[in-house]
C-alpha cells in the first residue's frame, strides 16, 4: 500500500443513496491513518472499506493517509498510534486505534445504532 493506494485512496461518494433522502448530507467522514504497507495497515484498510460498503452502504467519505508519505499530517491530526481511524463527521470525534480486528464489532455496533437512528 505504498503510493497508489495510500495516496488518498478516496472513495468517492457513491451515487447509491440508501439513507432517507431527507438526510442525504449526513455522510460519514472517516479518515484512516496507516504507516506503510504492513499487515496491520492492510487489515485495517480492508476492514474499513468493508464497513463502508456493507454497513454504511457507501454513505461515507473515507480517506486513507499514509503518514510515511505525509508526516506533517500525522502531527496535525495528533496521530500517535497506527493504524488510527478517525470518525470526523458524526460529531463526537472518535478515534479507533488498532487494526480493527477484534473489536470491529464495537465500531459496527456504535455505527449501527447511529444508522438505525438515521434509517428509522
Amino acid at each position: 500500500m505504498t503510493s497508489p493506494k495510500s495516496k488518498t485512496a478516496r472513495r468517492a461518494p457513491q451515487p447509491v443513496k440508501k439513507p432517507p433522502a431527507g438526510q442525504s448530507p449526513a455522510k460519514y467522514v472517516l479518515r484512516l491513518f496507516v504507516a506503510g504497507a504492513t499487515a496491520r495497515s492492510r487489515q485495517a484498510i480492508l476492514r474499513v472499506r468493508q464497513l463502508c460498503e456493507t454497513e454504511l452502504k457507501g454513505g461515507c467519505d473515507l480517506e486513507v493517509i499514509d503518514i510515511y508519505q505525509q508526516p506533517a499530517l500525522a502531527r496535525i491530526n495528533q496521530i500517535v498510534a497506527t493504524p488510527t481511524l478517525i470518525i470526523e463527521f458524526p460529531p463526537p470525534l472518535r478515534r479507533f486505534i488498532g487494526n480493527l480486528t477484534s473489536i470491529s464489532g464495537l465500531l459496527v455496533e456504535l455505527d449501527l445504532v447511529k444508522k438505525v437512528k438515521l434509517n428509522l
Binding site: 504492513t38 508526516p71 495528533q78 497506527t82 488510527t84 472518535r94 479507533f96 480486528t101 473489536i103
Partner: protein, 588 residues
C-alpha cells in the same frame, strides 16, 4: 578572583564515552562532562521536581550554546504553556522555534475519544519525531513524560514493546535524548521505564524537612562513566537550574600573607598592627546587643572604601534596616551600594533549607565575586539543621571561600548562660581568628568589651579593650585593669577621675612641700646671714680687743723700758745674762 567549583571532576578517560554537555550549571561537573551522547537519559522524579525544566534547559542550552538543535515532544503541556513556563527562566522558546533551532511537538491524546480495536504500533509517534528531527537536523530530543501514553493507550504489552523499539530507534538516530518520567512508589518510575533507558538515570527529588523544601539531584546510574554519587541540592533560579556540587575540598588552599584592615585602627593594633590575614575566616561572637553587626558593618565599610567588593549576607535584618541603623554611628553604606561595591543579600533563615541557603550563597558569591563576605549571623543558619549538618555547612562554605581567597567574617550569637566553649565548639576550630565581644554588667550599666581570643599566625594583644559606640563610629579604649578587676564604662571614667584627683593632690602636696623647703631655706639663709653678721661684729670686736691688747703691751713695754732706764744704771752691768734673757722674754 578565581572561584573553583569544588565539584566531582573525575579524571576519567574522556575518549571512551562521548559526552553531550548540558550547559546546566554543575550538572556537567557531576557527570564529568554531560549526558551520554547519542543515548537516552532518564530523568525521573515526583511532581514539581523540575523534570520538565531540566529537560527544557538541556534543549535550550544545546541550541543556544552548543549549536545543537533539538526537538521537544511534550505530552503534557502545549507549546504555548511550555513557552510561558520557561520564559520565567529567561529562555526564549518561541524565538528559537522561529529560528528553527527547536521544534516543539505537542502530543495530545484524549482518552475519551480513543477506543481500542485490535493491535497497533506507535509508528505515528516515530514518524512525527523523525519528521521533526529531520526538519531541523536535531541532535537533542526531549520526551516530556512519555508515561502519559500508558494512561491513554490500551494494551500495555504492545505499548511496552513499542517503547523499547522507540529507545532503540533513538539510539540508532544518534540523538541525545532526555526522557522524563514520574517517580514510582517502589521503582524509579511509575511504569518501569528504567528497564528500557538504562544508560543514564538521574533522579530528582523535592523533600520537605522541617517545613522547608529542598530540591535534590542524584545521578543514580551512568553507564560507562564515573560520576558524582551524592545527592546534590539544586536551585531553579532566574537563569535556570544550577546544581551545586558541594563536596568538601582537601585542605590545600592557597594562602596569602597580605593583611586586611578591620576599619577600627585600635583593633588593627591589637592584631599585630595590620589587621586580619587576607582570605582568612573570622568569627565574631557575642551575646545579643554586643555590637556584632556594627563591627561587621564597619569591616564591610572599610573594605568597600578600599575598593573591594563586599557581599553582606544578612539573615536577621533587611538591607535598609542595616543601612539606617549604621547611620546612627556615622557609617554611610549606601554610596558603596550605589557604586556596586557592597551588595546585601537578606533572607529569612526559615525561607528554605540549609542546603538551599548554601546553594544560594554559592551562587551569589560566584556571580558577585566579592573579596570580602560577611555572614550575619551564621548561628541562625546553623539552627536549621542538626549540629553536624550545621558544621558541615560552615566547613563547606569556608572551603569554598578559602579556595577563592575571600576574607569572611561570620558573626555568631551566643546565648547567655552557655559557656563559650559549648556554644562555639562546633565552629571555632574552623576559624582563623576569633573576636569575642562581651557585656560587662555592673554599677547599673552594661558596657561592651572586646578581646582577641585567637588569631592564627599573627601576634595579637592579650588585653581586654572596651569599645564604645558613638556617633562617630567605634572607638576602642583601654579598659581600666587594676586591683579591683576590670573597670568599664562610668566605673572606668570614675576611676580615671579618681586617678586624676590623686595626681592633682599629690602635685599639690609636692608644691606645698617645695614651698616649705623654700621657706626653710630662706629662714636658714636668714639665720646664716645673721650669724655671719654676729660673727663679723664679734670678729671686729676681737680685732679691736687685739689691737687694744697690742697697744697696751706696747705701752707696757715702753713703760717698763722707761722705768728700767730709770733704774738701769747699776743693774745693767751686774746681771747681764739674766737680765738679757728677761728682757727678751718680755719683748717677745
Amino acid at each position: 578572583m578565581k572561584i573553583k567549583t569544588n565539584g566531582f571532576t573525575p579524571g576519567a578517560p574522556k575518549t571512551l564515552l562521548p559526552k553531550c554537555p548540558t550547559g546546566i550549571q554543575g550538572l556537567d561537573e557531576i557527570t564529568g562532562g554531560g549526558l551520554p551522547r547519542g543515548r537516552p537519559t532518564l530523568v525521573c522524579g515526583g511532581a514539581g521536581c523540575g523534570k520538565t525544566l531540566l529537560a527544557a534547559e538541556f534543549l535550550v542550552r544545546g541550541a543556544v550554546q552548543f549549536g545543537e538543535p533539538g526537538v521537544l515532544m511534550a505530552f503534557e503541556e502545549t507549546e504555548k504553556e511550555l513557552t510561558a513556563n520557561v520564559a520565567s527562566l529567561g529562555f526564549d522558546l518561541a524565538g528559537l522555534v522561529r529560528r528553527k533551532k527547536i521544534v516543539i511537538d505537542y502530543v495530545h491524546i484524549e482518552r475519551s475519544e480513543v477506543q481500542a480495536s485490535g493491535e497497533y504500533d506507535l509508528e505515528g509517534l516515530f514518524v512525527r519525531l523523525g519528521h521533526a528531527i529531520d526538519s531541523i537536523g536535531a541532535k537533542r530530543v526531549v520526551l516530556d513524560t512519555l508515561e502519559v501514553l500508558f494512561a491513554s493507550l490500551p494494551n500495555e504489552a504492545i505499548l511496552r514493546s513499542e517503547l523499547r523499539r522507540l529507545f532503540r530507534w533513538l539510539k540508532d538516530k544518534g540523538v541525545t535524548a532526555v526522557i522524563t518520567a514520574e517517580r514510582g512508589r517502589e521503582s524509579l518510575t511509575r511504569h518501569g521505564l528504567e528497564e528500557y533507558v538504562s544508560d543514564c538515570v538521574i533522579l530528582l527529588d523535592h523533600r520537605v524537612n522541617d517545613q522547608i523544601a529542598t530540591r535534590h539531584l542524584r545521578v543514580v546510574k551512568y553507564r560507562g562513566a564515573l560520576h558524582g554519587t551524592n545527592e546534590f541540592p539544586f536551585l531553579i533560579g532566574d537563569e535556570g537550574i544550577s546544581v551545586l556540587p558541594i563536596t568538601s575540598l582537601a585542605l590545600n588552599h592557597e594562602v596569602s600573607t597580605e593583611r586586611i584592615a578591620t576599619g577600627i585602627p585600635r583593633l588593627d593594633a591589637m592584631l599585630g598592627g595590620k589587621g586580619f590575614f587576607c582570605g582568612s575566616s573570622i568569627l565574631v561572637t557575642g551575646t545579643a546587643g554586643t555590637g556584632k553587626t556594627i563591627i561587621s558593618s564597619n569591616f564591610a565599610q572599610a573594605a568597600g572604601r578600599r575598593g573591594e567588593r563586599v557581599l553582606f549576607f544578612s539573615f536577621e535584618e533587611s538591607p535598609n534596616q542595616i543601612i539606617r541603623n549604621m547611620h546612627s554611628i556615622g557609617l554611610r553604606m549606601e554610596p558603596l551600594v550605589k557604586r556596586g561595591l557592597l551588595r546585601f543579600h537578606s533572607q529569612r533563615p526559615s525561607l528554605c533549607g540549609l542546603e538551599m541557603h548554601l546553594a544560594t550563597m554559592f551562587k551569589e558569591i560566584a556571580t558577585f565575586k566579592p573579596q570580602v563576605v560577611i555572614v550575619d549571623p551564621i548561628t541562625s543558619l546553623m539552627e536549621l539543621g542538626t549540629v553536624s549538618e550545621g558544621k558541615g555547612m560552615v566547613t563547606r562554605l569556608i572551603d569554598y571561600l578559602k579556595a577563592g581567597q575571600v576574607t569572611t567574617l561570620f558573626t555568631s550569637l551566643t546565648q547567655g548562660g552557655h559557656t563559650l566553649q559549648q556554644s562555639e565548639g562546633g565552629m571555632s576550630s574552623l576559624m582563623d581568628a576569633w573576636l569575642l565581644l562581651q557585656d560587662f554588667e555592673g554599677n547599673g550599666e552594661r558596657n561592651r568589651v572586646l578581646y582577641v581570643l585567637k588569631a592564627r599566625g599573627m601576634k595579637h594583644s592579650n588585653q581586654i579593650r572596651e569599645f564604645l559606640i558613638s556617633d562617630h563610629g567605634i572607638d576602642v579604649v583601654d579598659a581600666y585593669i587594676g586591683a579591683s578587676g576590670v573597670l568599664t564604662g562610668s566605673a572606668r571614667v570614675a576611676q580615671a577621675d579618681l586617678e586624676k584627683a590623686a595626681v592633682l593632690s599629690s602635685q599639690q602636696e609636692a608644691a606645698q612641700l617645695k614651698r616649705a623647703v623654700e621657706r626653710k631655706r630662706a629662714a636658714l639663709e636668714r639665720q646664716i646671714s645673721d650669724l655671719r653678721a654676729d660673727y663679723e661684729t664679734e670678729a671686729l670686736e676681737l680685732r679691736r680687743i687685739a689691737e687694744q691688747v697690742g697697744t697696751r703691751t706696747l705701752l707696757l713695754g715702753t713703760e717698763r723700758t722707761a722705768s728700767g732706764i730709770l733704774r738701769q744704771a747699776d743693774a745693767k752691768a751686774a746681771v747681764h745674762p739674766r737680765g738679757r734673757a728677761r728682757n727678751r722674754k718680755v719683748n717677745s
